[in-house]
């Protein structure tokens, strides 16, 4: 039962990744794409979680945490880039 449900969930999650990617492709604004990328990251977290259930392991928990951090940092970086054209500010002195 768990096995079947997990597989159905994985299919749904990958479809959702595909849909996010569609948004990344067509935009229309950069902000749309960035939000789509962020959502892709979150989808990955869920995906990997279910894989962990399927493979009966906890080896990917670090990966999940890292994705969570990276999705956040990546989104921030992009937003900053959009706002000011730079990712890392120079020191003004």
């Amino acid at each position: 039962m768990l096995y079947t449900v997990s597989h159905i969930t994985l299919v749904l999650m990958s479809l959702s990744i595909a849909i996010c990617l569609y948004r990344v492709f067509i935009g229309p604004t950069i902000a749309d794409r960035i939000v789509a990328l962020d959502t892709t990251g979150i989808n990955l977290i869920g995906f990997i979680g279910i894989i962990m259930i399927l493979q009966d392991t906890v080896a990917y928990s670090e990966a999940i945490l890292v994705i969570a951090i990276l999705a956040f940092i990546g989104t921030i970086a992009f937003s900053k880039f959009l706002e000011g054209g730079v990712v890392i500010d120079r020191n003004h002195h």
Partner: protein
Amino acid sequence: MSMLHFVALAPFIVAIIIPFLYKKFRHIHTGWFVLPVPLLLFIYLIQYLPLGGEAMEIVENTVAWVPSLGINYTVYLDGLSLLFALLITGIGALVVLYSIYYIANKRDEPLNNFYVFLLMFMGAMLGVVLSDNLMVLYVFWEITSLSSSLLIAYWYHKEKSRYGALKSMLITVAGGFAMLAGFALLYVMTGALGSATFSIREIISYADVLKDSPLFLPAMLLILLGAFTKSAQFPFHIWLPDAMEAPTPVSAYLHSATMVKAGIYLVARFTPLFGGEAEWFWIVTGVGLFTMLWGSVSAIRQKDLKSILAFSTISQLGLIMSLLGLGSAALYFDIPNAGSVYSVAILAAIFHLVNHATFKGSLFMVVGIVDHETGTRDIRKLGGLMALMPITFTISLIGIASMAGLPPFNGFLSKEMFFTGTLQSMTLDIFNVQTLGFIFPVVAWIASVFTFIYSMILFFKTFTGKYQPEKLDKEAHEAPMGLLIPPIILASLVVIFGFFPNLLAYTIIDPAMQSILPGLLTEGEQFDVKIYHWHGLNPELFMTIAVVAFGTLIYLNLDRWKETTFFMRERDPLNAFYDNGLDGLVTGSQKVTKLQMTGLLRDYILYMLVFIIGMITWTFIKFNAFQYDFANLTLVPPYLWIVILVIIAASISLPFISHRISSILVLGVIGFLVALLFVIFRAPDLALTQLLIETVMVVLFLLAYIYLPELKKIDVKPRFNIFNLVVSIGMGLVVIVTGISVHAMRNDLDITSISEYFIENSKALGGGYNMVNVILVDFRGMDTLLEVLVLSIAALGVVTMIKLKMKGGEDI
């Protein structure tokens, strides 16, 4: 090491100390320090001459140089070597003496250079004629090419000198290289017999067996190529007239007496091996005769004295060469009594070799004197020097008469023997001579007529007619005694050999013939060398009379031909081939380079990819390597299909995205999905690293994006190119096919993985449960160390590029 080894080495040793002597004793002409070298060597070599009429004693000595390769400095002194060695040292001494007076001890004349080059040349030339080892001979041969180029370009500030030096270098070195290949073939051929050797004598002793080798003919042709380029035979003669830019002592020494005879020496030396073959006979004789004709015809239209002499040298070398070719028939053993009849051509060749060295050396020196005392060598400006320069005039008269073949000088004797040789060869009934043999005496006769004409031009235009002081740079007067002594000695030799030719018979000619034609005579026997002035009323005499008559007739009518283009054009038409060929080589290679080296990275990538595709496809077709085997494949779960389709869709969409930020984003998504694949295929460490690296990559892309130049910031759609599409699809297919085949082959070959070992021992030996990390830092720690190094180098490189900006747009 015997004394004989030092004969060739002594000039080199002296050449080392010459610059010191030049610096130390500026007030003494450096030539005086050089003069004893050839003089002593000449005196030393004379003692080997068989003066008593007995057979010559052959001397041989070996010093190991590279014994493991069979290369030894073996000196071998027989009649032929001795003849050349005496010419080199004897005329060398005279030329050095002449040069002391010719090149005055002025501040701007680099005398040390001159004498170092000259000594180098002398030593190399002696080495060529004394070496028995092919490789040593080749080494000395190349040193003669090098030093002669240096001597031609002695006045290197002149454009024409450099041109002449380059030309002679290119032609003679090309020939020398062919000769080296020929030598290598000889070595290979003897190696096939089981006794590989570089020794000329040993190779000749296998002559009978070597004739059957398939490499025999190529070796012969290659060695002949070397000989013909060095001895200025048609069509390689074009370097010799341009080498006349050298100082006159150099022309006299190198371009009349010694270097241009190196090819003659080579042909003579290899006659025992190749002689008696139809190819050798026809090539050597044919090229020699044609060169003789071409040289003599070209000589009459020259306006410069040295150019006349240069073409005359070409012609006379052709004469000697053709005689060597005709004489090689004597080694063809099917004819009865061949030895005694046809060896007369060899006799004539050797005799003329000596004669030519004497009269041509003196003529060059005379021309140098005329140049020195009047300031010009142009025959249109000269004239009427007979009364002003009586001694020079006398020497010239003797030399020119000898060159033209007039009695009683030695040129007459050798010319008569030349005619005898050609007439006798006509009667040969080997090598199909009976059909074409009549050409020999006809060509020889025509060439002799032209020889007579240019000799007359040389003589009458220089010494008779009206003296034109207004055209000359200097007031013409007789030369100092020092300049006159060497040509006087040579002219006396011309007269002595003319009146007493039999002085040479058993001292020089017979020993040389013995070495060119070995095995013809029984032990202790000697060739019948008798040279007479008067043979009776035979065809040769009538031919000479006809030469004189026709020559005079044509010379008297020369004014009618003067205005024809044939006479106006001085340069040899074959120079066009050389000049255009050299230009064509440069422009052609530039074109080829420009065609492929476009400077565009995309082209170079294209070359590489096309090559890889071609190579792998060829390998697959050649070895029929494509295999597929779907056993051992796991079932693909449904979600994986979707993930992979998404990756494929993202990858395919990449080239079509026109917005740069979008493509960076899509690239990031692909990276994340690859990390997901790592998760699905159970590689947590890889997934972790991939995620981090991918994020950093995306950030770096964004960082770089902002620094793109303004102009390029306009987002352009990548250009579509059908060829690029084909190549990229081809590359992908090749990789896919290779992957499938490798998988199939792994099933066939039943290879067990070594990972079992790591699984078992990662805790026991490495002390860790994380097998990937244990491999990275324990089992295969060295790789990790170097990867760390790579990262540090990359970091340092980035810092360097950012911090150390070059000023003023310099490239790093």
